[in-house]
Amino acid sequence: MAKDRTIRILVGTRKGTYIVEGDTRRKAWKVGPVAHEGAEVYHVVADPRHPGDVYAAVNSTFWGPMVQRSRNWGKTWKEIGTPLMPAKKSRKPNYGDPAEAKWALNNLWHIEPGLPGDAKTLYLGADPHLLFRSPDLGATWEPIESLNNHPKRKDWSPGAGGACLHTILLDPRDARRLYVGLSAVGTFRSDDGGETWKPTNKGVETPFLPTKFPETGQCVHDVVADAADPDTFYRQDHGGMYVSHDRMEKWTRIGKALGDDFGFTVASPRSAPGRAYFVRLDGQARVTGEGHFQVHEWNDKTRTWRKLLGPKDFPGHFGVQREGIATDALDPAGIYVGTTTGQLFVSPNAGKSWELLPFGFPGIHSVSIANPTEG
């Protein structure tokens, strides 16, 4: 793999895709030209197995969802296979209750490259609550029928953002273990490569349902694995902030110490295992509370919180969505947060200092990082 010290911030917005380039000092950034102009881009992600490959979940208001790929860090893009778009004339399949009206694919939410030893697998999460796997880097897609036609599916309903499957996590030790997060349904784990799925929401509260701890129905917003311990996960749920140390068998609420622990997004840096960054939002207004931008760091070893920004740093009320925070792989970690009003905040030193990029993006849906390659 060629050595490349460029670090790239991949930004999916309400009006297209942007790639922002800098170097490992993370002080100066160059915003590239917009791609997919005018389309809602819910997720942009680099494939670390193939440097230069970037995937975008593009949702055109007019022309529908499209998986797009660049093989040159975003200089050019091409539409590749999109699920429910079979090569043959057939327009099947249609998911959901067979007795109901036919379903169309609404939006693409999350693209997850496979493990390093599995060079061609991709996963894709979509609305309405669908999971797909591609064996050929997105040329074709196989529906994961065991989840897409889950026997309890008739009880699943969409959240405010739709019936989105937005989180896909792979166990780096075992290609057969994967986790998914579905809005207004919760998280599931498969230990057999997607053949069967177990709900994993024990301990997660549902303040919007009459039952306090149902098996499913939790509105998970985002989940991330700890960098050093693949059995540990940090979860931002509609019902608060949680940690699990046992492959999501049970969850412990950690956010109560913050008062209101609503939010949409969480990240955990590779260089600092046991840490997680949450963007706490006011549960009713859905913007940062107390009149300023804020990020909180959870230390899982000491079980304590640290507020990384003060009221004078960036006054205002900022919304941050479920793919809105990312960390890089450097030490100290860079933290990157995109807002619904188009600000992109960067900390090059694990939250010690922050800067606001001098560029107004359209409302930001997603932020992810393409890390430098080692050479």
């Binding site: 208001t61 022309w63 429910l84 778009m85 249609n94 379903w103």
Partner: protein, 89 residues
């Protein structure tokens, strides 16, 4: 022969401007159009064959998108417009 006017925003996937096609219904017209320009598949219609929410089809100036839709017969028709609707923000 029908004259089909396509939205300029569809240039990324299909022809620029006008096309000449023969078809007896909107469905068959779109089938023929997608046959010529495969990238148009699933852009105008979803995978159930229905017009996408923010696509409008006009037959001789009449919007059929929310009435007879893809089943609209084209006997005697002369011009078809395929346009995006007012949406977004």
């Amino acid at each position: 022969m029908l004259e089909v006017h396509l939205d300029s925003w569809l240039r990324e996937f299909g022809p620029r401007g006008k096309e000449q096609l023969d078809a007896d219904s909107v469905e068959h017209l779109l089938d023929a159009l997608e046959g010529r320009y495969p990238k148009l598949r699933f852009k105008i219609r979803d995978e159930n064959g229905q017009l996408r929410r923010y696509v409008r089809v006009f037959v001789d100036g009449e919007d059929v998108s929310r009435t007879t839709g893809v089943a609209t017969p084209l006997a005697g028709a002369r011009t078809i417009d395929v346009l995006h609707s007012i949406a977004g923000g």
